[in-house]
């Protein structure tokens, strides 16, 4: 009797599984309403949550063909680019640096090579920079890049191989060193090498590094996106951390692009293009400033939001490094300067 019970259970399981499979096949065939997929990098989660709501409201008020929602996917910039290359059906990509979108253009036919010229401001509706986040009162007295190589200072940065933000960190440090040592390459390399030897933890993405510094209490200085630093102050309290603006930093331009190959296949080109154009509108620029990114057109943002951005000397990747196409292989490619200068095991 009881022995049969087990058999019945198994028979039921099989029947159930068969039904489920049928259901899946049918469900897979049904297409959802118009829905966009924005594949983005790590720290933009809060920003796009607000931007998406605003855009959907604006679009649906003006258009008969409604957008039911904008799906978000977040992760390290490089891994997100790879997912799109491997077939993730992104309508738009909004990544940490142009190099990652270049990779999509190079490795697939989904994007033209000149994608960055299709939208104003290098296709970057917002910018940011790299700042130092230190513990309240700045106990180690960190003021500028030169303090980071002092013995006993622990610097937190994610791994430039996996994190877009960390690549900006690295290039900002490099730009400082080039200026400080008058382009003496040996001294620049020595500086970077010393800086890297002060890094106790290399997280894979910007958010992980933020957690390591803020919640685990590791490190004295956190090299951070400016927007991440502001967000950390907002999340964990301004009484715990301080932002230090170094004498020189880099203008980080996180670009956006419509993925032509995908929107044409899905028939969502109009919506996707409108979505990215929306990012440049006064309303979006205000939201951008509110979420601690530097707006391209600050006149549209709340002056209070704009006032919090400290004045800083910012160099661009084009003037110092000749653009991402050059910087990426030189510094972060296999055997690039990062690989050469990272002295393991120290």
């Amino acid at each position: 009797m009881h022995q049969l019970a087990g058999n019945k259970v198994i028979a039921k399981l099989f029947t159930g599984a068969a039904f489920l499979l049928c259901f899946l096949v049918i469900a897979g065939g049904v297409r959802a309403q118009t829905e966009l997929l924005n594949v983005s990098y790590d720290p933009t989660r809060e920003l796009y949550r607000e931007l998406n709501a605003a855009f959907i409201a604006e679009w649906n008020a003006a258009n008969p063909k409604k957008i039911s929602g904008i799906r978000q996917s977040h992760g390290g910039s490089g891994s997100q680019a790879r997912a799109v290359i491997d077939g993730l059906n992104a309508d738009v990509v909004t990544l940490a640096l142009a190099g990652d979108i270049d990779a999509i253009a190079q490795r697939t036919t989904k994007l033209p090579k000149d994608w960055q010229t299709r939208l104003p401001h290098n296709a970057s509706p917002y910018t940011s920079t790299i700042v130092f986040l230190v513990r309240k009162g700045n106990p180690k007295g960190v003021k500028d890049w030169s303090d980071l190589v002092k013995p006993g200072i622990e610097v937190i940065t994610p791994n430039p191989k996996t994190s877009g933000g960390a690549r900006w960190n690295y290039l900002a440090a490099w730009a400082y060193a080039e200026k400080a040592f008058n382009k003496d390459e040996a001294k620049v390399r020595d500086y970077i090498s010393k800086l890297l030897s002060n890094v106790p933890v290399l997280d894979t993405a910007a958010r992980g590094a933020t957690t390591t510094f803020t919640q685990r209490g590791i490190g004295d200085v956190f090299l951070s996106w400016e927007n991440e630093a502001f967000l950390a102050l907002a999340e964990f309290g301004a009484d715990k951390f301080e932002i230090i603006v170094p004498s020189i930093s880099i203008l980080a331009e996180p670009p956006v692009a419509v993925v032509d190959g995908n929107v044409d296949a899905k028939g969502t080109r109009a919506e996707a293009e409108a979505y990215l154009r929306f990012l440049y509108t006064p309303r979006a620029q205000a939201i951008i400033a509110k979420n601690h990114y530097r707006p391209r057109e600050p006149q549209h943002a709340d002056p209070k939001d704009v006032a919090k951005f400290p004045k800083a000397t910012l160099v661009t990747i084009d003037e110092v490094f000749g653009g991402w196409a050059k910087a990426q292989p030189t510094h972060f490619g296999d055997g690039g300067t990062f690989d050469q200068l990272y002295k393991p095991g120290r």
Binding site: A103, K161, P200, V201, T204, R216, G217, Y342, P344, G345
Partner: protein, 286 residues
């Protein structure tokens, strides 16, 4: 362990048995194995081979890759060993002794399976970070666990914990009391009884658990990256190197490291399985 007569030496690769169903069961397992595991892994090998021998050698012999492999395999073996010792002990305690809350604890042993590895990593980091529950106690003593190779070990012990317990427990429970009693009646000391009556049947099962704990730990990613520190040559595990290669769009390089890991773990597991088989035969026990 098998009733099949050992006298039946045919030239066939399998001994004849009265039990039917070899064809169909063998067919199903081999088909599924091929579709789900072997063919995809063949794709991995194919991809790795596309790198060319010079590149493969350069990658395989680079200190960074060697360091990561050493850490992954060393920590996994060490963690499996810790789990072997404590797993047998816990199984013994759970089977032989009575104490309050035993059932609950018995059920809780499986938790490392159920807790998503990412959650385990976050929780372990919260415990062993210098400002964590245990980390803050150890910090004044100058002991660091979080963000060091010791952190890797902690994560690997956690995820491998159930294996030895679960393989040893049933063997201990099914053991005939009469044998032990007989040994004791014949004048054997308790230690001798344990050594000659209990250890032989437990050992192969414990080995199985050891192999499983090692195998599970060696490729672990989710729980480790949160607590490892990920510093090259110090606390960087091999799976992380694969991820880093991937993010550089270097599929072939990622595949090469993947194949290296596979080959190494397959050799180790095969060796352990053969050793365990020999152990079973030698001890002449089920």
């Amino acid at each position: 362990m098998s009733i099949a007569s050992p006298a039946n030496h045919g030239s066939a690769w399998r001994e004849r048995s009265i039990v039917p169903g070899f064809g169909i069961s063998f067919g199903i397992i081999v088909t599924a194995l091929s579709l789900i595991v072997l063919i995809p892994l063949a794709a991995l090998v194919l991809k790795a081979a596309s790198a060319g021998p010079a590149d493969i050698w350069a990658l395989a012999s680079s200190p960074r890759v060697l360091g990561a492999l050493r850490l992954s395999f060393g920590a996994a073996l060490l963690a499996a060993f810790v789990n072997l010792v404590f797993g047998v002990l816990i199984a013994w305690v759970l089977v032989r002794y009575e104490f309050p809350g035993k059932r609950f604890i018995d059920a809780a042993v499986d938790l490392p399976f159920a807790l998503p590895t990412a959650v385990a990593g976050i929780a372990l980091a919260a415990i062993y970070a210098p400002n964590g529950w245990i980390g803050s106690l150890l910090a004044p003593l100058g002991i660091k666990i979080g963000y060091t190779p010791a952190g890797v070990l902690m994560a690997l012990i956690f995820i491998g914990l159930p294996f030895v317990v679960r393989t040893v427990q049933p063997v201990l429970a099914e053991m005939e009391a009469e044998l032990e009693e007989a040994a004791a009646l014949l004048g054997a000391s308790r230690w001798r009884t344990v050594w000659s009556v209990i250890v032989p049947p437990v050992l192969p099962a414990a080995m199985t658990g050891f192999v499983l704990a090692f195998a599970r730990a060696v490729g672990e990613y989710g729980s480790v990256i949160f607590i490892a520190g990920n510093v090259p040559m110090v606390s960087e595990i091999a799976p992380l190197l694969i991820v880093i290669r991937l993010e550089q769009f270097d599929y072939a390089g990622a595949a090469v490291i993947g194949v290296l890991m596979l080959v190494l773990s397959f050799i180790i597991i095969l060796a352990l399985n053969l050793f365990q088989g020999a152990l079973r035969r030698r001890l002449g026990h089920v």
